[in-house]
Symmetry: D2
Subunit: 319 residues, 4 copies
């Protein structure tokens, strides 16, 4: 393989730049010419592609976001769109494509193999909602970003002795709430994988009060409810007044952590190694600390399971 392109797609995640850098540097190392596609599949369709070099990716390893930018593409959903995308690559003599993104991006990569392009998917999303890999790029940073917010909120909630509800991202997967809840010392963690009633939450609050706790932190994944609604319910059902914080888009930003930069570097290099070996349609990931790959189609079929051990720990730790 003489030329490889890389793109980022879907929601951005901290560490994507580190992954792009690793792909580009590995290409240079192996005498492959690296190309960058701007704005994801949309840019692929419109041939927004430029040659990169080792220097193009200097001074980006520590930056959040993606310097290649990202977008969602309606046109790529169509067969015509994908044909145009493949044609863009072929016209430049590019045979392989590395796609950094979440499940939507992976499905796109899979379809592109049908157009004769060798593709490899790298998991980049703060949600950690891809079942086949233990971690996705951006997740560790997002958890730490939430923790920094929790530390600030602790200052004011302990001063006022108030209960605070913190709503974090996670539509179907509660990992961000679970990890940040445990590491942030939350009294209650509410995730889509295990719906709880308002009464359960109230029981927890009461238990904490019995042992003298004057403030509580409730970590709520957006997919399992709404902070405002929970606030109202707590007031109505238990006379408990609380404050809410919806963290929003700050969760997507920030300098990537060491773990995300290293994971991104490992997966970026692996993607290039696979393309060099003429592999295609694979998703790279990490399991039990080891880098591995599997067909995207299989990876997409796996069902994300709740880490029950971690979830149980939350109960012990907030005793």
């Amino acid at each position: 393989m003489k030329k490889i392109a890389v793109l980022t797609s879907g929601g951005d995640a901290p560490g994507m730049n580190a992954a792009i850098r690793a792909v580009v540097r590995a290409c240079v190392y192996y005498n492959i010419v690296p190309y960058g596609v701007r704005r994801g599949y949309e840019g692929l369709i419109h041939s927004d592609i430029k040659k990169l070099s080792a220097s193009s990716v200097g001074d980006i390893i520590h930056k959040g976001g993606t310097f290649l930018k990202t977008a969602r593409s309606q046109e790529f959903m169509t067969k015509e769109g994908r044909e145009k995308a493949a044609a863009s690559l072929r016209s430049l003599g590019i045979e392989g494509l590395v796609v950094i993104g979440g499940d939507g991006s992976f499905r796109g990569a899979e379809r592109l193999t049908e157009e004769g392009i060798a593709t490899i998917g790298i998991p980049g999303t703060i949600d950690n909602d891809l079942a086949y890999t233990d971690f996705t790029i951006g997740f560790d940073t997002a958890v730490n970003t939430v923790l920094q917010a929790v530390t600030k909120i602790r200052d004011t909630s302990t001063s006022h002795e108030k209960t605070t509800i913190i709503e974090v991202m996670g539509r179907y997967c509660g990992d961000l709430a679970l990890y940040a809840g445990i590491a942030g010392g939350a009294e209650s963690i509410i995730i889509p994988e295990d719906p709880v009633s308002t009464q359960d939450v109230i029981n927890r609050l009461n238990k904490g009060k019995e042992r003298g706790k004057m403030h509580h932190i409730i970590m709520l994944a957006e997919g399992s409810g709404n902070a405002s609604k929970l606030q109202e319910d707590l007031l109505r059902e238990a006379g408990e007044s609380s404050r809410i914080t919806v963290l929003g888009f700050i969760q997507r930003g920030g300098d990537p952590t060491s773990a995300d930069r290293i994971l991104a570097s490992r997966l970026g290099i692996e993607a290039v190694e696979l393309l060099r070996r003429e592999e295609s349609g694979l998703a790279v990931g990490v399991r039990h600390s080891n880098v591995f790959s599997m067909p995207i189609s299989e990876a997409m079929k796996q069902k994300k399971k709740l880490d029950q051990t971690l979830y149980n720990m939350a109960e012990i730790l907030s005793v």
Copy 2:
């Protein structure tokens, strides 16, 4: 004066601990016995008061919140409540009280002088809404906290080329939005002091787009609108889709900045100096970098004015 008490009241602000520390250490320095009142005026009424020492305030200068805790007190609004509060102090032989808080707290301090207690007010609020002083303790930290959030949001909004609306605190005073807007490089700053129409905002966005800007930051003070409503308006009136972030309580927390710790230290020492000189009913503050004091009654009458020079700068800088 042999004994002085200190309390924090109303909303907490980063730097309150540094102010408490300065009051306590200045007392010790001048051989006055310092006392700490917990939970503001509520604690005063219920005699939740304890003797402090130089060591009591060790290792707190760098911490957000207030280790004396704060609360709002309905009972203190009544004459009876204030009499009880004054009696609490007198029963311990405490003649002077330093109150750290915002305008509500200052009015309380003023009323307490009527009960024969010498009081001094120190301005502690992230809102910078006290007209008599250039800055309040906590404001500089809050601006920097907002900036850290803006930096994270920039990562993702430049990656997606999206307009972002950031709603910050400030019900009547737009200083937080103004300072953070200028320092954060916002294209539009919307504050209560100068209402703008949605069309004004759209014009700004269009101007930016004309010169090639792909993402905009709109800094909105909560007192001048609502992020969700503006988001809807932009979509309806200009077809502009945007993302919103409501920063919420993280703005109250965080380690105080150098400026807030030093301001707090200066004002805390000044408060004790004034009580030593048998002064009472005064608010301390900073104007043109100098510490000064004036009667609380006069301080409360002053009307906060918009810093027009700064506001105009925003226009030049987002050209």
Copy 3:
């Protein structure tokens, strides 16, 4: 087991508080009375031990250092010292002890089993120099702390186009330099496990210059040289003027990262589970993401090996 004590020993590490908290909360959860020993083995000898409760460890999960304090003890090196230490525990009816620290602390724990105390070791050190476990508590935080420093140094070294030598901790183990070097985008990483000549470093610098790099970062583990000496060598042998930064003790501090808090929580709970099962003389750790335990004696015999894959990555990434 009815009563368990916990202590921290040796150099402190971020996450030790989270580990103490997990031990204490797990005890409470299992109806065991938790005790805290202050100042490590020194405190054990002098019976500086107090009963803890779930609340004793509230609001500490996010704090660096160790609230139990730590120290080195000469007296504990003697048989008499250890007998006194064991007697201290016995006099309070404490049968089990959890020791959080590095290899010196672990050897101490092992010797204490000889005095009839059931001990479990939890690895807490920023150096990651314990071979039996993939990670020690504090390492992830230290790497991220170094990265924050690297980001600041990048600002000024890119502005001045200067080479910078950053000396980090790591006397025998280069993991901190290796991880921070890869994640920080260092051009050269110098670790005790693989001594390099000054000429090797110069070759790397020259290679970077050839492709237009205007500034370089050299990450140096303290165990493999001295920043000042390398600075002199580079000047003398290659006419290369550089700047040096010795990070020092800031590497030990800072709020623990999510990964360190969760690792600490998992190991803290596991330690209590083991003592409940009447185990003793074991070290807990994590391997391939799984918590496990093994005899301290065996754990101490393992030789730390360089992660060759990671080390090779550095070469590809700095191509």
Copy 4:
């Protein structure tokens, strides 16, 4: 004036980018064409000058360092060098130059006026060693950077109950040590303006110990001694073992604080306003919160005075 150039010179400081941005945006606002000179006076001599636009300075307000880069120039010290520099500007029709830097840079600007170039100096240095202005751009950020380091060092020094000596920048001016010492809660602050003996430091330590302090922070400006030497002296003269940290170049980096960004913005705009009014040879600065300007020659004659009030506060606060 139709064209204005801007350069950064000498040591870099956080906020320089914000100042460049303000100069450029103010030019655009007033229909003046802005130019950027790379690598300070060195780039001026070698005509390393390029036209800038409002977009050239997008997304830089929050970044440390200077995107125009900076350097020291031997050649500019000569009359010939300055003539070449002036010729570079004239050949492009540039009449005015804004110089951002410290005293060396200001002297350069002054000499350049002799070559017929209208120059304005903006104070950019972390040292705050320019007497004519209350604050220089970069100082507030550097103080806060030191404070973050102090917070990390506190974690470990309280855990070990050790005295720590922190050496910060400041060859002739102790402001960085003074502000960071007060805001960081240091027990001793040692600055060039007021030499103290080792015995003075020991007396302070002993006083702290008497009231139960278990750890001390000594803030030392590099211009008033050397951390290693003080460490040895404390050990020899008082048997006090201590740890040292030399913060080094991390003090120059980091995202600029709000105060530095706003100061930079104000001064950058003012510089352009002055050039528009045909002024030259002026230094802009801030005094008692007001922006002002004065001849560079006079500004350079002023002697920096120690803020005695602040210095005295340190004694009260560490009582």
